[in-house]
């Protein structure tokens, strides 16, 4: 193992990253497991470590012109609305009440479903995305939210969609000289969220299949929709064709025969992009069946939401 460094700020971190290519280490909740050694020995890292969990530039939650920016090293506990973590973030002036209030329920619930309380004080969205596991809950939520990842290097920044950033389990487009600084996404006033994780148990569980859905509603009709399935392929699966079938839906479409035809078509289109595997946690058959059940459940929730808004 090489040298481990703890830079004072992002600028220094980026210089060190550029010069050494050291492995960024935020909460360590994935890295410590991946690099664990046998009993009686410390973890075995081949590379130098670059600690980034404390960098102020990576710990901010900002509300800016209708967009929310979430720092890569914001503890999951803050996103999950843990009262102690939230208080801590406010006290350190890493977040404002307003910014925290804008965190959509989709992201909050996904963060809450991750691990257990202790783990959520360490785990970060930057790590969840960098790990690029298709079972990453916050990664799935960020994809559903159409978030962009902001990648910093010593001479500037670039942005790309979170889904494009991930290439497969453990693989991303992160360059040797870059760090994930933050995630940005718009949070419209009239929004609809759905999140459901099917895990192996109720806490400290890995995801067998999940669905994060995010829509915007204008005058009682669905204006935009994204459907992100977790753990049904090597990357998060966005069922865009299925979502398109449902654009313009209003309350009555869920009952009409035309609407029902479109929903059935949408489900078929979703089924076409879902290709899960058998592994030690679940079966391909279960994952596919339940993914489509979650899709139906999401539509029922959407119908209910449109109905309730229309009733207002």
């Amino acid at each position: 193992m090489g040298m481990s460094v703890r830079p004072v700020d992002l600028a220094e971190a980026l210089i060190l990253r550029d010069e050494s290519g050291a492995l960024p280490f935020a909460g360590g909740t994935d890295l410590m497991v991946r690099h664990r050694a046998k009993n009686g020995m410390g973890p075995s890292f081949q590379k130098s470590l670059l600690f980034v969990d404390h960098l102020p530039e990576l710990r901010r939650v900002k509300w800016d012109h209708g967009e929310l920016e979430i720092g890569a090293a914001v503890p999951m506990a803050v996103l999950a609305d843990d009262p102690r973590a939230r208080k801590d973030a406010l006290r350190r002036e890493e977040a404002s009440e307003e910014a925290l209030s804008k965190i959509p329920s989709l992201l909050r619930d996904a963060a809450f479903d991750l691990g257990a309380p202790a783990l959520r004080t360490r785990a970060t969205p930057g790590g969840n995305v960098a790990n690029a596991s298709p079972a990453g809950d916050v990664l799935t939520a960020l994809v559903a939210l159409d978030a962009r990842v902001i990648l910093a290097h010593r001479n500037g920044e670039r942005e790309l969609p979170v889904l494009d950033f991930t290439l497969g389990p453990g693989k991303t487009q992160l360059a040797q000289n870059e760090l994930i600084r933050a995630f940005r996404f718009p949070v419209p006033e009239t929004r609809w969220c759905y999140w459901r994780k099917v895990g192996t148990r109720r806490a400290n569980a890995l995801t067998k299949v999940s669905l994060g859905a995010f829509g915007t509603i204008q005058n009682g009709t669905l204006e935009s929709l994204s459907l992100a399935f977790g753990a049904v392929g090597p990357r998060i699966v966005l069922a865009d064709d299925a979502a398109k079938m449902l654009l313009g839906f209003s309350e009555k479409d869920f009952e009409s025969s035309d609407g029902k035809t479109r929903m059935a078509q949408a489900q078929k289109l979703a089924a076409q992009v879902i290709s899960p595997i058998d592994d030690q946690r679940s079966t391909a058959h279960y994952r596919k069946t339940v993914a489509l059940n979650l899709f139906e459940e999401a539509l029922r929730a959407l119908a209910k939401n449109l109905k309730e808004n229309t009733d207002d």
């Binding site: 459901r196 099917v198 148990r201 339940v290």
Partner: protein, 735 residues
């Protein structure tokens, strides 16, 4: 003792040290510690033997091949200070002796039978170097087809692993004319019921230190049965019994998983200490522990029952197969308990029971809380549900008519001599859970259900094992100042003897429990009171302790050293024929009822437990909180077994779920707190009336759960664990 009621809870003497982290487990013991402490915050501290600075790290080289004759071994160059020890170094017999078998070799010699079988141990000062040496070892085998499960075992895939038929052992019982009963039956119910592997998942992994002291060797660490370890090491090293010293250190959970494994692990380590003359320490990594230590025997029970036109039970025809894995080890004793428990709390007029322990190329199955009873009680209780559906009656009504009564014959033609209070237990279960009302109220297939299961658990060793095999002995010593110390081999691995034994002695002598000494067992100091297994510790050893305390009280001499001893003898009237398996298979029985209420989600086929109830006859609780702790933990463990704890094997017989993120042991969020109740029914030959109870709390929670799911989904659920994937398949098969 101040309180008159022995059940009244006292603070656990070892509680604070364990809760605050002050208790020293084997992994915590500092090298060279020799400060002579015997107690730290209520937790005994072992002597400093084996902790020298010349201590070596040990790691096993385990077979990467599942099955075949070993044709070659290639060992790497070994640097100074490092040693590879294998079967050629064994000075005594190269076999691990267990209660009913000695087929498991200490080191694989001529053949390997499962991936992970111990072939050699590498010891040396630097763990990194030891690891590299382990990685440099290779063996070649003449490979044979791998036999993965009981079906392949019966079909003799790749030829027999054991004997000529792969059957390690059989236990058969018969009563009456079963064929005639089935010929005349108005209704026959039939079903096949499967249970899977289960990992004990003790919090503290396996860990031991061995050392050599002249012509003696020692073993210390995390274990349930110091004298079993003593016996195994004696056998392997060819030493006399007093040539081996075994010391228990603080144990962080066991559940049966530290009954056989400390012998399997400790004997090769002791050989390494014998060869090198140095202490050897081994702490099992969690993944290694989960991948290669003994698990619960998987089972397949086939039940057929014959009923007359009035719905009376005529006979049962039962086949019980359990998967023993690659070596017999404890399979016969597990099978005996599975068979002896397989008619549950019911009086069955005629039966034919055939039990088999089968060989496969998987990790040898071993001891696990319940020891065969959770398997056959699952088969039986699920079959009673099936029979009730076939007969069109409510399962509880069917069961109630068959309840055993005092004076009835046991399954082995012995006699139930103690009062049986099943009716009282049912009334208590109904009062707490409103079972019958809910059962009638929930429509079948309405995604909500409630189930009830019944438990019988024979306390102590099977048959005359306590008298013929164990021959338990305890002693009490009083010093001149009047301090009394308990001397026995019983281990506290969380289940409470450090608390309850002190209470028993204190209550007899009119002292306070904290005044009574009770150090961790050291075979140089304590008599062999037997292993800490089989729901025997409180009832059998605790009773000997009570008798010894009464003896001491009656002959108390102020200012003098005194030692009193007690030896086990069978309760009057008890008789057993081990050849014919006839007589009283257990001295007495614990009884219980589990109720479980569930909601199933048809979107994901996940099932939520919304209520769990446990009602037990434990004789008399010697400490209510200790008993309640067992009830809570046992229920979680059995619900985990029934609902979550999937443990599969791959194409070569390896376990697929060997990490904490893949093997789903329940968390505190998965199940609600169990509403628990105990009903007093004192047993005359237990301390203050106590009977065994540590295992029966894990015997049938899974059956109540599966019965509840059956009502919720409206389909038979004859296999556990009922993970959502399995439930989805059941729903699709029966669509």
């Amino acid at each position: 003792m101040k309180s008159k009621n022995i059940s009244e809870t006292i603070p656990r003497p070892d509680g604070m040290a364990k809760a605050t982290g002050r208790a020293l487990y084997i992994a915590d013991l500092p090298q060279g510690d020799a400060d002579g402490r015997t107690q730290d915050g209520g937790v005994p501290v072992g002597p400093s033997v084996g902790l020298g600075t010349n201590q070596l790290v040990g790691r096993f080289y385990r077979s990467p091949h599942p099955r075949g004759r070993i044709t070659a071994r290639r060992y790497p160059q070994v640097p100074d200070g490092y040693t590879i020890v294998d079967a050629t170094h064994v000075p005594g017999k190269n076999q691990i002796p267990m209660a009913a078998s000695r087929d498991l070799p200490c080191f694989a010699d001529e053949e390997v039978r499962y991936i992970g079988q111990i072939v050699a141990i590498v010891v040396g000062p630097d763990p990194q170097v030891v690891d590299e040496l382990v990685d440099g070892i290779e063996i070649d085998v003449e490979a044979r087809p791998v036999c993965l499960n009981m079906e392949e075992s019966i079909a003799l895939k790749g030829g027999a692993i054991h004997g000529t038929d792969n059957v390690f052992c059989r236990v058969d019982l018969d009563r009456g004319d079963v064929d005639a009963a089935f010929a005349h039956a108005a209704t026959v119910a039939e079903g096949v019921y499967d249970t899977g592997f289960q990992e004990q998942f003790y919090m503290e992994g396996q860990g031991l230190i061995t050392w050599r002291d002249g012509d003696r060797v020692g073993v210390r660490g995390s274990m349930q049965c110091p004298y079993y370890v003593n016996h195994a090491v004696t056998h392997v090293l060819g030493l006399p019994h007093d040539g081996v010293r075994v010391i228990q250190d603080t144990v962080g959970g066991a559940f049966g998983g530290k009954e056989d494994y400390p012998e399997i692990m400790g004997a090769p380590m002791a050989v390494a200490s014998w060869v090198t003359g140095q202490p050897v320490k081994m702490l099992m990594d969690r993944v290694e522990d989960m991948a290669f230590t003994s698990k619960r025997h998987p089972s397949r029970c086939t039940y057929r029952s014959a009923w007359d036109a009035q719905g009376h039970l005529l006979a049962m025809d039962v086949l019980i197969d359990i998967d023993g894995g690659a070596y017999e080890s404890y399979t016969k004793i597990v099978l005996m308990r599975a068979v002896f428990t397989c008619l549950g709390v019911y009086n069955v007029p005629a039966f034919r029971i055939r039990g088999r322990g089968l060989a496969t190329n998987t990790v040898p199955s071993g001891a696990f809380r319940g020891f065969g009873a959770p398997q056959s009680l699952f088969g039986l209780e699920m079959h009673m549900e099936e029979a009730a559906r076939t007969l069109g009656v409510e399962s509880l009504e069917l069961k109630k008519k068959l309840f055993l009564q005092k004076g009835d014959s046991t399954i082995t033609e012995g006699t139930f001599r103690d009062t049986i209070i099943l009716d009282e237990l049912v009334a208590e279960a109904e009062r707490l859970s409103q079972y019958s009302q809910k059962r009638a109220q929930y429509p079948t297939g309405g995604m909500r259900g409630i189930g009830m299961s019944f438990i019988i658990h024979g306390c102590g060793f099977t048959g005359d094992g306590e008298q013929k095999i164990i021959k338990g002995e305890v002693a009490l010593e009083k010093d001149e100042a009047g301090h009394v110390e308990i001397l026995c081999a019983a281990v506290d691995f969380g289940q409470g003897p450090q608390t309850t034994f002190r209470k028993v002695v204190a209550a007899v002598l009119g002292k306070e429990p904290e005044e009574i000494g009770f150090r961790y067992p050291d075979t140089d100091r304590v008599p062999d009171s037997g292993p800490t297994v089989a729901s025997r510790t409180m009832m059998v050893v605790g009773y000997l302790i009570q008798k010894a305390a009464e003896d001491l009280r009656d002959h108390w001499k102020e200012g003098e050293f005194q030692r009193v001893e007690q030896k086990y003898s069978m309760p009057p009237g008890m008789a057993w024929d081990q050849e014919k398996l006839l007589g009283d298979c257990y001295a007495t029985y614990g009884w219980g009822i589990n109720v479980c209420e569930v909601e199933t989600d048809p979107v994901t086929w996940e099932t939520k437990v919304v209520g769990a109830w446990g009602i037990y006859d434990v004789g008399k609780a010697v400490d209510q909180r200790v008993v309640d702790g067992q009830i809570q933990g046992g229920m979680s463990q059995s619900l985990g077994y029934g609902a979550m704890e999937k443990l599969e094997i791959d194409h070569s017989g390896r376990f697929r779920q060997i990490t904490m993120s893949d093997y789903m042991v329940p968390t505190s969020l998965d199940f609600p707190r169990t509403e628990a109740s105990t009903v007093d029914n004192p047993y005359p030959y237990g301390p203050f009336g106590a009977k065994g109870m540590g295992e029966m709390v894990h015997d049938a929670g899974h059956a109540a759960y599966a019965a509840a799911v059956e009502q919720a989904v409206g389909k038979p659920c004859p296999c556990i664990p009922l993970v959502p994937e399995t439930l989805l398949n059941i729903m699709e098969e029966h669509r």
